[in-house]
Amino acid sequence: MKRAGYVILVLILLVICVKSCLHADYPQTVKPALQPHSITEDINYPEPQKNVTIDGVDYLQSQAPVGKFGGTLVASTIGEGPKTFNPFNSKDNISSQLSEIMYDGLLSTNAVTGEPIPRLAKDFTVEGDTYLIHLRKGIKWSDGKPITADDVVFTWQNIILDGFGNTSIRDSIVIDGKLPTVRKIDDYTVEFKTPQPFAPFIRMLSSPIAPKHVFEPAVKKGKAYFDTFLSTNIDPQTLVTSGAFKLKEYVPAQRVVFERNPDYYIINTKDEKLPYLNKLVYLIVGDINNEVLKFEGGELDVIGLQGANVARFKELEKHSDFKIYNLGPNTGTMFASFNLNNRKDKNGKFNVDLKKQCWFQDKNFRQAVDYAIDRKNMVMNIANGLAAPLFTAESLNSIFLNKDLKPYDRDLEKSKELLKKSGYYWDKKGHLRDKYGNHVEFDLYTNAGNTEREAIGVMVKQDLEDLGMKVNFKPIEFNSLVNKLVNTLDWDMVIMGLTGSPLEPNGGKNVWMSNGTLHMFNQRPANYTKDDRYEWEKRIDYLYTQGALATDFEGRKKFYDEYQAIAYDEKPFVYIYSPLIISAIRTRFKNVYPTPLGGMTYNIEEIYESEVKSET
């Protein structure tokens, strides 16, 4: 009898505990649907920012509605936080993202059209290989010193071109072993010259500019010192910056706090200095789940959403104080690739079996596989409908996208026709055999642990088995996979993803040029001299070279359109889909004009908080 009493007591305690945790959750009723259209289409974007000169100072005037000053925006980054506050040392996304807030570049990108627009520069002209930049007069670093041509020349000559810090910018502007030059014309004019016309250079002018009086002593101490310069344990007050916000506080593993730069050069239509927000906070969270919890709990104001969370938040949106934006497909591409390698390894053995080479190097075979893949099914079932089927080498939000290349549905009949054309046939058991009678069987790799790619692998395997092929799906550890792709080259088919740039196809030259380090579908060993390129590889090499040399957009687009058409036809990569970018932001923030190219908060100086929460 006594014992029963205890049991009841414990049960009651438990029930109280559980009860307080459970709260009416809104039921998930809406099934995710294909959302190919970006809901940003019905946003009325303000006019582009204009140059205005007041009392000899060249301001940039925002044309967005005038807002209220004050307030805080809390965003987040996933991972371990910034590794450095030196914009020229950043090797990871978070460090670069934060340094972009603190240091402005000469140019930036119009988030709607993708055109280069002036930022620290007042205006710029491009003539062939010559770039003339006029700087704004009267604008200052956060310590009050003027920003002049000396800073620009120093940044380019002594930091970037001399190879200090992260050399990726320098690497990408080496043309035939030669570097561009930079020259000061007067205090507010700088001239850049590339060795030959080189269109991608204009995008590089958005790299940050460093204050010479701060960076010069560090550069003089050499490269090793520069690598540790402005590390994360620096006193925030000593950073000299030019961006809309300056660093206020960095708490490791918790947050980075920025405060408004009171002397910024962007003004509103009432000639008041922006930004509106007092503070910009980046919380450093360890994983996506915690980020979602923080957004739900109101600690975060803006968040990127993925997978099942989107459907749930879509439901919550009706009762809550946030709005969800679909920013369209991102630059990520998911694809399956064949190994078109026809060379022998060091031991004289073929990297790919001879009989497999016959299949993979057959264009009909690759196209047949392409038609057999059910992209829509994968978008619906793997990406929760939050992706767009992909058919082109450039990502769907690229300004260079070739819009003539049309998407199509799965077509097994067409696949079979293509295979028959190359002499394939089906035996009594329905197995696919090539003209020599070999059963078509190969391995499909991807990196284990990436559940999305594993799911795609399973579906690709099923789709291809409908054609009578036997596919051995083998997810392996990421590093072993990279080793296979880059060094040993002994793979048949792989599912991978890469990210590109929506603004500059030339970034993909390592993938598409036949001597590239990531030319994975026909990877040549380093220092390979024999010319055994396929005809279409030769053509792509030519198009990539010419595309970088042409300077006007239309001229360039012609070359890149053709390369996409070749990729669309030859199918070295069978593209599958691009995920959509879904973001949510609290509705009390106004002047929010998200774009597929710029994301949510590219215009951070214009965003304001309509009802400023009392600081607690």
């Binding site: 050399t167 540790t228 994360t232 918790q254 947050r255 919380l283 969270v285 919890l293 709990g297 590093n479």
Partner: protein, 323 residues
């Protein structure tokens, strides 16, 4: 004097142990097929030169034995090396150690302050309703896996809004007055402390209860009672002193867990302690950081045991005679 020689002996004994631990962990990390540069290799915008530069900088082009030798040499000199991002390992650890210590010390102090008296009380009230309720409650505490308990509490915080969702300080911490800052930290600590406290309390309370029950049953306690000593003297002067000995050994182990014991909870609550730092280091195969943390764990364990042994020598005359 004797005690000093004993300590010296113990320290000398621990040196080969540390060497073995370091060799095993170094080789396991390096022989596992994790390539710290795999991400870079698959980045289309990274050039071959950059890859080669990185390989050299991280010393990956040398044989493992040479790499180990280099590491061991600088470790003995007290230099923990740099992380794969070029930051000082010691600086990174220094950022996090105080936070982890704050959490674990509060938890250990709380469990001992609450757990020991509860254990004693339960033993003295053996088989009464009080004892039984405590037994059930501590069973519940032991039964919930810490990870899920932490997640449950986080969801609780989201739904009720009573507690902050992870972290250690609020974003406007700098503008607060001192008292507000103390309250802010306390507010953030409540949930993680609750998780760790519930877990370790159960074990400690039961251990104490069992020890005291054992001792209360022994002949000398019966003798003390027969001698006519007051119940207070019997329990607190004779029984408790003997029952506490095994607890001191336990304290040694708790000491070892000071820096690493809370890693899982830290991760769930996004607590800026060592746990998150080391987890990421392991995933990225950031060898210097991982080695530093593993060595730290080994040293803490050796130190903890040493402290426990010394405490035992002080509290237990029987051991003193043997030593």
């Amino acid at each position: 004097m004797q005690i000093l020689i004993y300590i010296l002996k113990r320290i000398l004994q621990s040196i080969p142990l540390l060497i073995i631990v370091s060799i095993i962990s170094f080789f396991i990390i390096r022989l596992s097929p994790v390539d710290p540069l795999a991400e870079l290799r698959l980045n289309p915008s990274v050039s071959q030169e950059t890859l080669e530069k990185e390989t050299q900088r991280l010393g990956l082009d040398k044989p493992i034995i040479v790499q180990y030798g280099k590491w061991a040499k600088s470790f003995i000199k007290g230099d923990l090396g740099i992380t794969s991002n070029g930051e000082q390992v010691s600086a990174k650890l220094k950022e996090r150690i105080p936070n982890t210590l704050l959490l674990t010390i509060i938890v250990i102090a709380l469990t001992w302050i609450v757990g020991i008296p509860l254990g004693v009380a339960a033993a003295l009230n053996w088989k009464t309703p009080f004892d039984r309720i405590l037994t059930v409650l501590t069973s519940v505490g032991m039964a919930i896996p810490s990870f899920f308990f932490a997640v449950l509490l986080l969801i609780f915080a989201v739904k009720t809004g009573w507690f902050p969702i992870g972290g250690l300080t609020s974003s406007n911490f700098l503008e607060m007055t001192f008292l507000q800052q103390v309250w802010d930290i306390t507010h953030h600590l409540i949930l993680p402390v609750t998780v760790l406290f519930t877990l370790s309390l159960a074990g400690l309370q039961r251990q104490m209860r069992a020890n005291l029950l054992d001792v209360l049953d022994s002949d000398y306690v019966k003798f003390a009672r027969a001698k006519g000593l007051s119940e207070f003297d019997v329990v607190y002067k004779h029984a408790l002193r003997n029952a506490i000995n095994p607890m001191i050994t336990l304290l040694g182990f708790e000491f070892a867990g000071l820096l690493s014991g809370a890693a899982l909870t830290e991760y769930v609550f996004q607590y800026p302690g060592l746990g998150r730092l080391i987890l990421e280091a392991v995933l990225k195969s950031d060898i210097n950081l991982v080695m530093a943390s593993l060595m730290m764990g080994a040293i803490m364990l050796i130190l903890g045991n040493l402290i426990a042994d010394i405490l035992l020598i002080i509290t237990d005359p029987r051991i003193r005679v043997k030593a």
